[in-house]
């Protein structure tokens, strides 16, 4: 394998590395630098040190966004994983066992296909779909029904108290199916004998779930939590398209990504937007490291 190795290696790596450096690495590196300037696109950028960060700390919108991330960070993984775990247990273990092989309840295959479907739709399309579902008058899917039976319409996206939760609902709606399939794959790799032995010992399904499925699925759950957490730090497309007034009403649903986008491409405050990007970066990294640390435990051998 010696002959002509280096020309080959360089030939194969040149294009991908160049493309990646220009469009990914260079912008990431520049972002930190721009965040220290007062650049607004017209004149040359001036170095201002940590001024943007100082401004950030006093920015009401910034803290609003952080607060929403914290809500999403707790609620999105918790709700999604709880629902997906229950469903994947139903679809893989809760059925009759025959010949030592566990199976799901009736219709498992069908449910798995249907639940997963939102995953292949673009989030922006889903957001438009839910805009019509949530519409506040009789043309909305939910309020159309509510008003027909004489109830008051729910102002999903207009009422600042429930707007964020309406958006969270969409995120959960989209995510559940994926995690059902992910957990199903994890459950499928748990040997059937373990369930059999547990059942012989008189374990009920609830015990099976908490004593067998849950501990043996721990690694997959950890991955799911990190993925959902990172999703909770993004949520750009759904908020940008679905919320009224871009993160409104009055900032009730705004997220950092949206504030970055708005500051950069509406107000041309590039330095300030980049400072927000750096803040987002540190939040995401902190979250990932923190989660992996906290959820670390002896993985169960089987």
């Amino acid at each position: 394998m010696r002959h002509g190795k280096y020309p080959f290696v360089i030939g194969f790596l040149a294009a991908p590395v160049l493309l990646y450096s220009v469009f990914v690495i260079a912008p990431y590196a520049q972002a930190f630098q721009i965040s220290m300037t007062n650049w607004r696109g017209l004149s040359a950028p001036k170095w201002v040190g940590f001024d943007n960060y100082r401004q950030l700390v006093e920015d009401h919108r910034f803290w609003q966004a952080i607060q929403h991330h914290l809500v999403l960070l707790l609620a999105l993984p918790l709700i999604t994983i709880a629902i997906a775990l229950f469903f994947s247990f139903m679809l893989n273990v809760a059925g009759k066992s025959s010949g030592g092989k566990r199976s799901g309840v009736w219709g498992s295959g069908f449910y798995r296909v249907v639940f997963f479907f939102p995953q292949v739709l673009a989030v922006a399309i889903i957001a438009v779909l839910f805009q019509t579902v949530y519409r506040p008058n009789e043309s909305g899917l939910i309020n159309g029904v509510l008003m027909k039976i004489g109830l008051d319409p729910i102002l999903f996206l207009v009422n600042p108290n429930i707007a964020l939760w309406s958006i969270l609902g969409v995120l959960v709606w989209q995510a559940v199916g994926f995690y059902v399939v992910l957990f199903s794959a994890g459950i499928a790799s748990i040997p059937g004998e373990i369930y059999e032995a547990a059942e012989m010992d008189g374990a009920t399904r609830v015990t099976l779930f908490f004593r067998v499925t849950l501990p043996l699925l721990w690694d997959t759950l950890q991955v799911a939590w990190v993925y959902l957490g990172i999703a909770a730090f993004d949520a750009f497309a759904v908020v940008a398209v679905l919320s009224v007034d871009n993160g409104g009403p009055d900032g009730a649903t705004t997220v950092l990504a949206l504030e970055i986008y708005r500051n950069a491409f509406t107000y041309s405050k590039y330095g300030y937007a980049s400072a927000m990007g750096v803040a987002l970066f540190f939040l995401t990294i902190t979250f990932a490291v923190f989660t992996l640390r906290v959820t670390k435990r002896e993985s169960v051998e089987y």
């Binding site: 080959f8 994926f178 950069a264």
Partner: protein
């Protein structure tokens, strides 16, 4: 684990081995309670599964039906079948609202983007996985580090890099950026995959006089097919769903907008123009092909996407 399981063994009538003092009443009562619990769980479970399926399917069917209605029907009878099949709503969305254009743009950008991603990604991954050379580790980690960074951090500088290269508002710019941002995962996944391929076949091919390049394209790439398919699916779905990159990079060239951008824009305008049925038709045109493709390839799509997540 074993100890945890055996602690629950107290009341099995026909469990193996000697049991201490089995009370006569207890096992039967426990069994009945068991069955009750099981049927309750199963009942609630079935109901929940069915309910969730309804929640997933109903909005889509509802949009599909509304795409044939007129505005009066949409407002007065949100939950009935349309009086007639008004295909003109679809026609209006396709041509007047430019959905056809956006759709073809998406197809063009995603097919070029995915092809380029797979070509460059597999080349880089192959070299990084199977050749020892100075800087190998460094380049590998350079690629993988891209997985950890939020795209929004790079958005502002990226905009200026693309503008300075004269690629703003072009298909080329979009394809190159899609490719660059798809590389970290593609390389990460495929490096792991190429490492698992056997050495013997490669050596045999080398002895037969194949060049490095030929070895890659004619031997290794075909062997890596399962991994390649998974990553291709992952990239197609990811690039098809892109919203923020085109929003920033082709914002002022409306004829180059992709589908997600176009539909989001139509939903804003539908209110002003009171063309609600046009919006529903546009949404349906965006959703329907995905349903069809998913229905055909659902097995590969599910395993492809979860293989990506499991790594």
């Amino acid at each position: 684990m074993g100890t945890q399981l055996t602690t629950t063994r107290t009341d099995q009538p026909d469990g193996p081995g000697p049991r201490p003092l089995p009370p006569v009443e207890k096992p039967r009562r426990r069994k009945r309670a068991d069955r009750g619990e099981v049927s309750l769980l199963n009942g609630v479970g079935h109901l929940a599964l069915f309910f969730w399926a309804v929640i997933v399917v109903v909005p889509i069917i509802w949009v599909f039906l509304a795409s044939f209605k007129n505005t009066t029907e949409i407002f007065s009878s949100p939950w009935t079948l349309p009086a007639e099949l008004r295909w003109e709503n679809w026609g209006r969305a396709w041509t007047k609202a430019n959905v056809g254009r956006y759709f073809l743009n998406s197809v063009l950008v995603v097919s070029c983007g995915t092809f380029l991603t797979m070509l460059l990604g597999s080349m880089a991954a192959y070299v990084l996985a199977r050749y020892k050379f100075w800087g190998n580790r460094f380049i590998y980690y350079l690629f993988v580090s891209g997985l950890a960074f939020p795209v929004f951090l790079a958005l502002v500088p990226l905009f200026f890099v693309v503008r300075n290269l004269g690629l703003l508002d072009t298909y080329t710019g979009l394809v190159l950026v899609y490719t660059a941002y798809s590389l970290p995962f593609t390389v990460f996944f495929l490096v792991a995959f190429f490492r698992t391929l056997p050495n013997s076949v490669a050596e045999a091919a080398m002895i037969d006089g194949a060049s490095h390049t030929r070895l890659f394209f004619q031997v290794m790439l075909p062997m890596a097919k399962p991994g390649m398919i998974s990553v291709t699916i992952f990239n197609i779905i990811g690039q098809w769903a892109q919203y923020q990159l085109p929003l920033v990079l082709v914002s002022s060239a409306k004829d180059k907008w992709v589908l997600t951008q176009g539909i989001a824009d139509i939903s804003v305008n539908a209110g002003y123009e009171a063309d609600w049925s046009g919006l529903f038709a546009a949404l349906t045109i965006a959703i329907l092909p995905m349903i069809i493709v998913y229905a055909i390839f659902q097995r590969q799509i599910q395993s492809g996407l979860t293989a990506g997540a499991g790594k």
